[in-house]
């Protein structure tokens, strides 16, 4: 496999905060790489350093083995988390303007079709809904037929249907051989889209690998979840995790039958019990000791 992107020991020091603290990773060509973490973890700063829009305090970024420069800017497509577009331009004018900034050109009608913008071409940028706007921003990121696409929190604020449509779109992009770097704090999004993830917290990468590998390495069991109100006895012997926010108790076990028997003896009933596989959110909680959306 070819390494498309390599970040070496990136560091970003603001006057009162160390936002990125020695982050290093590489991304293979053609995969979807997810950078996960809660708000304030440093993932957006890390990505913006790589994109070249935020200067690093120290560290280096390599694109196909060369320091990221003019070639990187020509071949990368970027969707920022918050981007204003030029007022009074229509969707198609916006796409044409951005495409004119590159030597590389994608097939614009194809992008318009892929991003379902056909019916919006003459609409003023300012009159787009949240989902329409996200699709336009993704289309803008694709106008140069990029070899590498950055998507920063692309589905934040979208309704569930729009999120799913967006996932299909990202899947198609990756299917074309484009490398995708996704930052998100939605664990379900990362599990569905990413071949590989890195979890960040407090400016550092705390673990890295494919979602399934990370979960298998961390967990040999399943999680049983029941409402806190149903607990009547002492569960300290099974090492419960209590979520005050969600008002639930979670216990991990590799012997479901035995655990259910224990719970039956210490609760008002098992009618509301849920059994599930551990997910990335559980992994993050175990690794950092706090919730992703804290």
């Amino acid at each position: 496999m070819t390494t498309a992107l390599e970040a070496r020991n990136l560091r970003k020091q603001y006057p009162d905060t160390l936002a990125v603290d020695g982050v290093s990773f590489d991304v293979e060509e053609g995969i979807c790489f997810g950078l996960l973490g809660p708000n304030g973890a440093g993932k957006t700063t890390t990505v913006e350093i790589i994109e070249g829009v935020t200067p690093a305090t120290s560290g280096q970024v390599f694109y196909y083995g060369e320091p990221a420069g003019a070639r990187f800017r020509e071949e990368a497509g970027i969707q920022f988390q918050n981007t204003a577009l030029q007022d009074y331009l229509s969707v198609v004018e916006t796409l044409q303007m951005f495409q004119s900034l590159y030597e590389r050109k994608a097939d614009l009608p194809q992008i318009i079709e892929d991003c379902s913008l056909g019916e919006l071409l003459d609409r003023d940028n300012r009159k787009l809904s949240g989902g329409q706007r996200q699709r336009l921003l993704l289309a803008v990121a694709l106008v140069n037929n990029p070899k590498l696409v950055f998507l920063d929190e692309p589905t934040t604020g979208l309704d569930p249907q729009a999120r799913r449509n967006f996932w299909s779109l990202v899947d198609r992009i990756r299917g074309n051989g484009t490398t995708v770097i996704l930052t998100t704090h939605y664990m379900d999004e990362a599990e569905i889209l990413c071949d590989e993830i890195a979890i960040m917290d407090a400016g550092k990468i705390i673990t890295r690998g494919s979602p399934s590998e990370l979960l298998q390495a961390q967990y040999k069991n399943v999680i049983i979840e029941l409402p806190l109100a149903d607990v009547t006895g002492d569960l300290s012997s099974v090492d419960p995790k209590i979520s005050e926010t969600r008002q639930v108790v979670e216990v991990a076990t590799d012997d479901v039958n035995a655990m259910l028997q224990t719970l039956a003896n210490n609760t008002s009933g098992l009618n509301r019990v849920k059994i599930r596989q551990p997910n990335l959110e559980d992994l993050f909680l175990d690794l950092t000791g706090h919730s992703l959306r804290a």
């Binding site: 994109e51 070249g52 829009v53 935020t54 003019a70 800017r73 020509e74 990368a76 970027i78 920022f80 918050n82 981007t83 204003a84 577009l85 030029q86 007022d87 009074y88 331009l89 004018e93 044409q96 303007m97 951005f98 004119s100 900034l101 590159y102 030597e103 803008v140």
Partner: protein, 338 residues
Amino acid sequence: MLHRIFAIFRARNLEFVRDRSSMGWNIVLPVILVFGLSFVFANERNQFTVGVLNTQPVEVPNEHSFFDVRYIDFVNIVDRDTGFRKVSRHQLDLLVEFGDVNQYWVNPESPKGYFAELALLQSDANSTLQKQKIVGDAIRYVDWVLPGILGMNMMFSCLFGVGYVVVRYRKNGFLKRLRATPLRSIEFVIAQVASRLLLILAITAFVYAGTHYFLDTRMEGSLLTLFLVALLGAVSLISLGLLVAARVTSEELAGGLLNMTTWPMMMLSGVWFSLESAGEWVNRVANIFPLTHILSAAREIMIDGAALSDIASQLTILTAMSIVFLLTGAAIFRWRAQ
């Protein structure tokens, strides 16, 4: 490079043209001012104004009885040519000189000059005065103020229309998005200059043509030379706007800085009134502003019929200012808000 500049240039033009309120204001404001001032100052001077020629370094006491006549402002004129020019333009009703030879100059086409002359002759019992005639059409206030208003409109449009917009782009993240493309800062800056230049020249030409047609304003020189002044003047003002906005991230601060830049020019560059009689230091300070050189060159062309060579110094200064502002602005340009 050119295709990138053209892409930003075109997008900015579309934004401006489609923002009808802004574009309308750019056209309506100077028209209202020119026509309004033309009406208000149609009978601008009620007093008589007589120049007293005194080329001596020290002021000579005036003992002639003419100086006792009421309702006449006597102003000291040290330069003979300046005095003649003002009489020819009806800016002085009469020019008098008392010395070895007592003489006066009057414009026979000036009604106020006629009455000022009667008052002079009546006050001179010995009739020793020699009469000289100077002809020329009157310079109305609207003729004088038209370059000022057009220049002021250019100044506001260039500084706020570029400086403020760049800060808005920076604050809302549009510049950051452009930064992630192959577009370079100098290309962005050139596109902004070109876009505003095209629009402001079109608007200025339109307003000038309209006022010239309806108010028959004076134009003694070449339109091409005047266009060159407008072109270089607009470039210098746009470059100044870009320099002011090169690093600012707050619209409030940008507004303050732009006001701090525009208001001294409004007051000291001779938009509304001449600063000829103001102190020397005022004129020195005024010379640091591009608008001063734009207005001085434009008035020389429109009122005096100056040729290109006559205004070469102003054009040179405007070119130098543009280069300094533009290069400094591009060098310190910041794409991001933080």
